[in-house]
């Protein structure tokens, strides 16, 4: 009897252990008809959950549900766009009964290169998330069926013709993401420092290099640079390629009309290497982050900084810019000698915005439609422009655009309107394997372990391999 009892007890224990181990919490979304492919998001909820409805409640309050939202608006420099996002979230929650957003702030490159790829592979991305356009991001995830086709939604909301540029989010005629704004990349410069050294805003290539040399000779860093993340120096390289090899080269590198080891593209790498050798960049740049670059510039240790127009709001905010508040100018990269094509073209991107999971319930879809309606409204886009210096991604009236007072934003708008056109960043046109190689090689070029020609040759080899596949 004892023996049998012991055996039964042990068997029960074994079965309990196995069942516990094998069971999953699939019921968390069970009420809303989720097809079970998504995991519950372990995020920091910023909103208080709505009360659970009871059977006795005759008013039948809306069934509470949550939608996860991953953003990259963290830190002081992003506070203005975070405020806009918070307002959109509040508006959407007020509009959709029962909705609570679960906001999760993640650092830009961690989201783009670590978290999101892993979640996409596992099939459980957040419902709304920050997304970059292009081959390595939106188009890849769209092709894999992970992203919501937004074409019918923007049509329903009357937004189809309002976006200025959706190229980097369109695959086979379907829209898989919506850019939150546009930007260009250029040089910020310290006006007071320039004046004290007898320098003026560079209009030509010679003036730019003269300014860099003068700054270096006087013990300043010519160009603040934080190359720990390789995408930072690649911003400058991208515009150098656009200048030396022409505006069409960026798209041409992916299509095969241009090659990485052509003399024109190699000239861009050569120029970067030349500036490294001349000591124009931050000493020890390989150990500094993107944020360090801004610190060096803001503290007056560097005279110039090549960065995106999305940084402009920092320089009108005393809390961030300190003594440099409203004393920073912006100019686009001047024409290079012997450069191919129209040298007035600028680096212009509409590549960062929001994407949405394809795995949604009816309720979540309603919430997402409301979110899109509120975020991509004239009001919010204008706020982004005025408060944050982000160029709108949708067409705004000229009256709205004329409200801009920030001098850098005004300059950016002028530069873009006077340019012959825009070329994108190659990270959105070339396959991920090619972009990854460019990250490795630019760092090796900076460290003196590769020559401009070897960088070009190796890049082309990877490009050829990717094209074959």
């Amino acid at each position: 009897m004892k023996k049998t009892l012991m055996t039964v007890v042990m068997l029960v224990l074994v079965l309990t252990t196995m069942l516990t181990a094998c069971s999953g919490n699939n019921g968390s979304n069970g009420n809303n008809g989720n097809n079970g492919n998504s995991a519950t998001e372990g995020t920091n909820s910023t909103s208080t959950p709505s009360p659970t409805p009871t059977a006795e409640n005759t008013e039948q309050p809306a069934e509470p549900f949550s939608v996860s939202l991953r953003h990259i608006q963290i830190g002081e420099a992003q506070k203005f766009r975070k405020a806009i996002l918070d307002d959109v979230v509040a508006m959407t929650e007020a509009e959709v009964p029962g909705l609570t957003f679960e906001l999760e702030g993640v650092e830009d490159s961690v989201n783009r290169f670590t978290k999101l790829p892993a979640e996409m592979a596992a099939g459980n991305p957040p419902k709304i998330f920050d997304l970059f356009g292009g081959e390595g991001d939106a188009l890849k995830y769209g092709a894999a069926g992970r992203l919501l086709d937004l074409t019918p939604i923007i049509e329903e909301l009357g937004l189809s013709d309002k976006f200025l540029n959706l190229d980097q989010f369109i695959l086979d005629g379907k829209v898989y993401g919506l850019p939150i704004g546009g930007n260009t990349e250029g040089f910020y410069y310290n006006e007071e420092l320039f004046a004290s050294l007898g320098l003026t805003e560079p209009k030509t290539w010679d003036e730019l290099e003269h300014a860099a040399q003068t700054l270096t000779d006087n013990g300043y860093t010519a160009f603040a640079m934080g190359s720990k993340g390789a995408w930072v120096p690649l911003m400058l390289v991208n515009t150098l390629i656009g200048r030396y090899a022409g505006p069409d080269s960026i798209a041409g590198l992916a299509s095969g009309d241009a090659t990485w080891n052509s003399p024109e593209v190699v000239a861009a790498f050569e120029k970067y290497g030349d500036w490294v050798e001349k000591g124009y960049f931050t000493k020890g740049e390989l150990g500094f982050e993107y944020a360090d670059m801004l610190n060096e510039f803001v503290t007056g240790k560097a005279g110039m900084m090549f960065d995106g127009s999305w940084r402009s709001s920092v320089f009108s905010d005393e809390a961030q810019a300190g003594a440099l508040t409203n004393k920073v100018g912006f100019f686009t990269m001047p024409a290079v000698d012997g450069g191919i094509g129209d040298q007035t073209f600028v680096n212009g991107n509409y590549s960062n915005g929001y994407g949405f999971s394809s795995d949604l319930t009816e309720q979540e879809l309603v919430a997402i439609k409301a979110f899109i309606k509120n975020l991509y409204s004239d009001e919010m886009q204008l706020r982004g422009l005025l408060e944050d210096g982000i160029l709108p991604s949708i067409k705004l009236s000229s009256d709205a655009m004329n409200q801009v007072e920030d001098k850098i934003v005004k300059k950016v708008i002028t530069i873009m309107s006077e340019s012959g056109g825009a070329f994108s960043h190659f990270d959105s046109t070339v396959p991920s394997s090619v972009y990854k190689e460019s990250e490795d090689l630019i760092l090796k070029l900076i460290a003196g372990r590769e020559t401009p020609q070897s960088v070009g040759d190796k890049m082309q080899a990877v490009q050829d391999k990717a094209s074959e596949e």
Partner: protein, 290 residues
Amino acid sequence: MKQTLRNPWIYLIMVVPTLVLYCLFFIYPMVTSSFYAFTDWNGLSQYKFIGFDNFIAIFRDSDFIHAIGNNMLFIAFAVVVQVPLIIFFAILIANVRRLQRLYKTMVFIPSILSTSVIGILWGFVLHPNIGPVNKLLSLFGVDTIYWLADSAWALPAVLVVNAWQWMGFYIVLVLAAILALPKEMNEAAEIDGASGIQRAWYLTVPLIKPIISVVVMLSIAGAMRVVDIVLVMTQGGPVGATEVMASYLVNEAMGVNPNYGLGTSISLVIFAFALLLTAIYQGTFGRTKE
């Protein structure tokens, strides 16, 4: 009860839950994931079987060979520098008469700190412009050293920080072994005129050889799988200067161009390396005489 325990089936039933869990959460994932090492799986597209291509690619990549070299440096540093220092400090603390527990706690503190905390902490300490190390060195006229940005200095800096983090744990381990030794032997040697150094070298060290052997083995295993401190401090940079096999795995498997197939093959190579080195050590220096 005695009769029950005589039944061999009882033992089997007792072992089965553990075995099931072990198979479910260790053997099964390991075997199934090993399959992906022979594919080009990127997590999104349909994968295809590519044979040993991943393994060939790994060993053709000079960055991976460099990473293996860095792992070997971690091992060499652990065995040649860390272990002697661990023994030295353990003997030192074992012989102090006052505040022994305070010293024990102090050396142990770094081991309980999260690696992220240590990485950020040392990031400040080694900061080229505001870090106290450079401030101190500048007093002696030393130029700014870019500890984590200079290929020449980054690996030594990470090695030192890694040692700082883990030495305390091993010191406490060795200290426990020393304190467990009978005091009479030491006293007898002292009466016979043996100096402190002689007693440490001829008595203490031989008697704690088994625990030293364990410390060396754990150090080798730890050096093979070191990754967190590298990722937190340098992400394998600058330009691969501090890249180790596991950080190479992280950077290849995830990141800009995720390749889980390649990542799995790298993890199998790391596993094989760790197994081989541990076996070699156990078969040679680690073998204790009966």
